[in-house]
């Protein structure tokens, strides 16, 4: 397929990502933002594919969409009763927020485009990286990998502990 189609697909996904992200941020309703976050994640996953990191894309979908998003949704369920009319989380200092955000984005973009254009290196990743990920994980990133797994374990246990039904409070 030619460059044009790739470009078009890319722009579509980019648009999806950005717009849904924007919806996540600006929607008054937490439920809506949670669901639109789903689309953001998908979009980002797609972008990963463009970056020829298919494994990461899959992980993204599995972990985020399958895990984090569900968690978030549960959080929403726990903390707001759906029935309650106003789920809208009102906002804190809106104006400065927007201003700062825009300035931030503008500043960053400006930096990107002014500080010399990025020249792609001579060799680029192509095709699937799954195999090399496996190699890296088992060789160079052995220690960080284990660490991260431990961290994850601890975090999950901790989360379970924190969120568990506390008898002491009910007594």
């Amino acid at each position: 397929m030619n460059q044009l189609t790739i470009a078009i697909i890319f722009y579509i996904f980019a648009a999806v990502t950005v717009l849904s992200a924007a919806f996540v941020v600006f929607s008054k309703n937490v439920i809506y933002s949670a669901f639109s976050l789903l689309f953001t994640f998908f979009g980002v996953a797609a972008l990963y594919v463009f970056l020829s990191a298919d494994f990461i894309a899959v992980t993204q979908v599995v972990v985020y969409v399958g895990g984090i998003l569900v968690l978030l949704l549960f959080g929403v369920m726990f903390t707001n009763t759906i029935m309650q009319t106003e789920l809208k989380a009102d906002v804190l200092h809106m104006a400065p927020g927007i201003l700062v955000t825009l300035l931030l984005i503008g500043g960053m973009l400006f930096t990107f485009y002014t500080t010399g254009s990025w020249m792609p290196g001579e060799m680029q990743l192509n095709g699937s990286v799954v195999e090399s990920i496996g190699l890296e994980t088992m060789s160079r990133y052995m220690l960080p990998f284990e660490m991260v797994s431990i961290v994850l374990l601890v975090a999950l246990i901790g989360a379970a502990f924190l969120a568990r039904y506390d008898k002491a409070n009910k007594k």
Partner: protein
């Protein structure tokens, strides 16, 4: 080794303390509140004291008798610049001490006995006897102590017991006020006394009388003569406080809030006399100037109090003011150098005044706590014993011949005359004049009291609802008031008191008769007292030549003057050291020894000269006084109330006690009120709102202090804290505790960095 008399007097000192200790702790557990403990112990004390009296006065009949004993109380070790320094406590027993011991213990015992009747049924019955015990203890302490420090200690202890006893009915606010007033007024006097003690100590590093007098005589007093006078006057201030002399006399009448036996014991006979006793102790070191001050204060007090007494309605207040007046006589006597006469009056006055107070107590008791003389009257039929004793005592107080009071008062007045003539007349004649004036008034108000209380018809039914207004009983509305009251008091008939209240009256009345003190009804000088208590030679060298004058007793002086002096004195000197009635007679002529100090000798001489003048004058005065009393109250030739109307200003002036309380209010309180106003303005404008809602003036003034404390001094401290706090507050605004705000700031900072970066970039 200790003299047996010392041991006995220590026993006398400690027995009442024992009574206090036992009663204060166990009065509730003992039957009858343990009054028998108090009475019994005081009886023992009395017995011992009388034995001492017998030994000292009757056995060795010697003017110079003196035994002393002391022990080291505090040891300061080897003090730099002073050398070994010990503070000694000790006991001295001489004639005066023996007499005072006997007098105090006797009256105290009688009052104990009397109280068993008078105070019967009081809730704090037992504690009352405990207080009496500690009072008697401290009074003995004053009498026995041989140095200024211990006398000061007992002095304040007496103040304490007086405080406790005045406030015995502490649930009455008037009593609570009175006790506070008494203690504070006495404290003011004590300050002076204490400063005087300090002056003497700072020179000699000792508190003992003897050492101090020796030092002064040897001219070791290195400060100026003025300081010595100051020391004398300041020590006298103690007496001014205790003996209720002007200007500190205001507490004594209020002290009548205490139970009547207390008034008799403390505020008539013993404690108030302690001041006089103390001045007598330090008599020899008083400079002539100091003596002049003392004399004038005494004379003025005597007269002023007498004028007040003539218009009072409360039977106890009349007696209170007469006490003040009589104390004025004593102080006057000391001031004019009539040493023995003054002490003589102290003794006689103690007896008859105690008798009067106990009598009035009996009356009040019988009248169901009616104290206003206007509602009494006609009691002589109902209370013959009380009437008889009261009468005798009254005559003694008025100073009628054949009574003890006559002897002493006359001696004092003679001394005053002699003094005035020696000092070269002029203003000094004011003193005898005031004295005689007081004599008239005394006779008058006592006659008035006797009549109002004992004669005429019973006026109990006249008492209106609102008593104590000035002229509320004109004969017009008698029936009306009678109906209104319907014989309110008549249900309880007035009756004579029981034996235990009657006996003291009789004893004291007996002691008010001349024969006890002197064979000659006209001259106390012939009596044993004047012989045994003789004016000591001063140690103050006015001329600077009298250093060789030895000793305080007569005999040395007598020996000395064989070489020293003019023949008139020579003749009178010899008998001064002899014994027996003849010697007493001779010595009595001259009130003691002959002096090497010319001034004292002169005064003694002139006193002798003026003796019979004084007798004549005072007799006349008494007659006038009693005559006036008869005219006013008995024959009603002049209606007292109408007179009161005609001379109303004078009457009110006297009735309101010369407005002394008001004057003190006006000066002290209004003055500080002004100050506090100024300060309040200061506060309002400089230090904001310190003195808010303050009641009394002292508190206003003190509040200002508290305010300065709180706002200015404290303010400086807080200001530092404040600056820090405000800066902190500014930055605290940023610390909202909201992570998001922090994050916003982070972002802003990043932007700032961007700006910085781009600025570089643009160049």
């Amino acid at each position: 080794m200790m003299h047996s008399l010392i041991q006995l007097s220590i026993a006398v000192l400690l027995l009442p303390l024992l009574s206090f200790v036992v009663l204060i702790f166990f009065n509730r557990r003992l039957p009858r509140g343990g009054d028998f403990v108090g009475v019994g112990l005081l009886g023992t004390t009395l017995a011992i004291a009388l034995y001492i009296f017998w030994t000292v006065i009757v056995q060795h009949y010697d003017p110079a008798f003196r035994v002393a004993w002391d022990f080291t109380w505090l040891d300061f070790g080897d003090v730099p610049g002073v050398g070994p320094l010990q503070i000694k406590m000790g006991i001295v027993v001489d004639n005066l001490t023996a007499i005072m011991l006997a007098m105090v213990s006797l009256i105290s015992f009688l009052v104990h006995l009397y109280s068993t009747g008078y105070m019967h049924g009081e809730p704090l019955y037992g504690r009352f006897f405990a207080y009496l015990g500690i009072f008697t203890f401290s009074m003995f302490g004053i009498v026995l102590s041989d140095n200024l420090f211990s006398i000061y200690m007992f002095w304040e202890l007496v103040g304490l017991s007086s405080y406790l006893l005045i406030g015995f009915y502490f649930h009455k606010d008037s009593a609570a006020d009175a006790q506070k007033k008494a203690f504070l007024t006495n404290r003011i006097g004590d300050i002076g006394m204490w400063l005087g003690i300090l002056i003497l100590y700072s020179q000699f590093h000792t508190f003992g009388y003897q050492e101090i007098f020796e030092h002064i005589k040897n001219g070791d007093f290195h400060m100026s003569q003025t300081w010595l006078t100051a020391a004398g006057v300041l020590l006298f201030m103690g007496c001014v406080g205790k003996s209720a002399q002007f200007p500190l006399h205001v507490w004594l009448p209020d002290a009548m809030e205490g139970p009547t036996p207390v008034s008799a014991l403390i505020h008539a006979a013993t404690m108030v006399a302690a001041g006089v006793y103390f001045v007598a102790r330090i008599f020899v070191m008083l400079t002539p100037d100091a003596l002049h001050v003392i004399a004038f204060i005494g004379a003025f007090t005597a007269f002023m109090a007498a004028t007040i007494a003539i218009t009072q309605h409360d039977i106890k207040r009349v007696l209170a003011y007469s006490t003040v007046s009589q104390l004025g006589y004593m102080v006057l006597g000391l001031g004019v150098g009539a040493y023995s006469a003054a002490l003589f009056h102290l003794l006689t006055h103690a007896f008859f005044k105690a008798c009067l107070f106990l009598g009035s107590g009996a009356i009040i008791h019988a009248m169901h706590h009616e104290q206003d003389m206007r509602w009494m009257g006609g009691l002589y039929k109902k209370m013959p014993w009380t009437f008889a004793t009261f009468m005798i005592a009254t005559l003694a107080l008025a100073g009628l011949p054949l009574t003890s009071g006559f002897l002493s008062k006359d001696a004092i007045l003679a001394g005053a005359l002699g003094f005035a003539s020696v000092e070269g007349g002029g203003v000094f004649y004011l003193i005898p004049v005031l004295g005689f004036g007081a004599a008239v008034l005394t006779a008058f108000y006592m006659g008035r009291q006797i009549w109002l209380v004992f004669f005429g018809e019973s006026r109990t039914h006249l008492k209106p609802n609102a008593a104590h207004s000035l002229d509320d009983h004109s004969d017009g509305d008698v029936d009306h008031i009678h109906d209104a009251h319907h014989g309110g008091h008549d249900h309880h008939p007035v009756h004579e008191v029981a034996w235990n209240m009657r006996l003291p009256l009789v004893v004291l009345a007996t002691l008010s008769v001349f024969i006890v003190f002197s064979p000659d009804p006209l001259d106390g000088g012939k009596g044993w007292f004047m012989h045994l208590v003789q004016t000591p030679a001063t140690v103050v060298s006015v001329t600077g030549t009298s250093h060789e004058s030895a000793g305080l007793g007569a005999p040395e002086a007598g020996k000395l003057l064989a070489t020293a002096h003019t023949d008139t004195e020579h003749v009178e000197a010899a008998p001064a050291q002899g014994h027996g009635a003849e010697a007493a007679h001779e010595a009595g002529e001259h009130h003691g020894p002959v002096f090497t100090d010319p001034r004292q000798a002169e005064i003694a001489h002139m006193t002798h000269e003026n003796h019979y003048t004084a007798i004549k004058l005072s007799s006349i005065m008494i007659v006038i006084g009693i005559g006036m009393a008869l005219i006013f109250y008995v024959f009603r030739i002049i209606d007292p109330d109408k007179t009161a109307q005609t001379i109303r200003p004078l009457y009110l002036y006297s009735f309101n006690k010369w407005y002394w309380d008001e004057i003190y209010d006006a000066t002290v309180i209004k003055g500080s009120m002004l100050i506090s106003k100024i300060l309040a303005w200061f506060d309002a404008n400089i230090v904001d709102g310190i003195v808010n809602g303050v009641a009394t003036v002292f508190r206003k003034f003190a509040f200002f202090n508290g305010g300065v404390d709180k706002y200015v001094v404290d303010g400086l401290v807080n200001f530092t804290a404040f600056t820090v706090q405000t800066t902190g507050a500014v930055f605290r605004k940023i610390q909202t505790g909201k992570v998001q705000t922090y994050l916003l700031m982070v972002a802003v900072a990043v932007l700032g960095w961007f700006a910085f970066y781009f600025a570089h970039l643009v160049k």
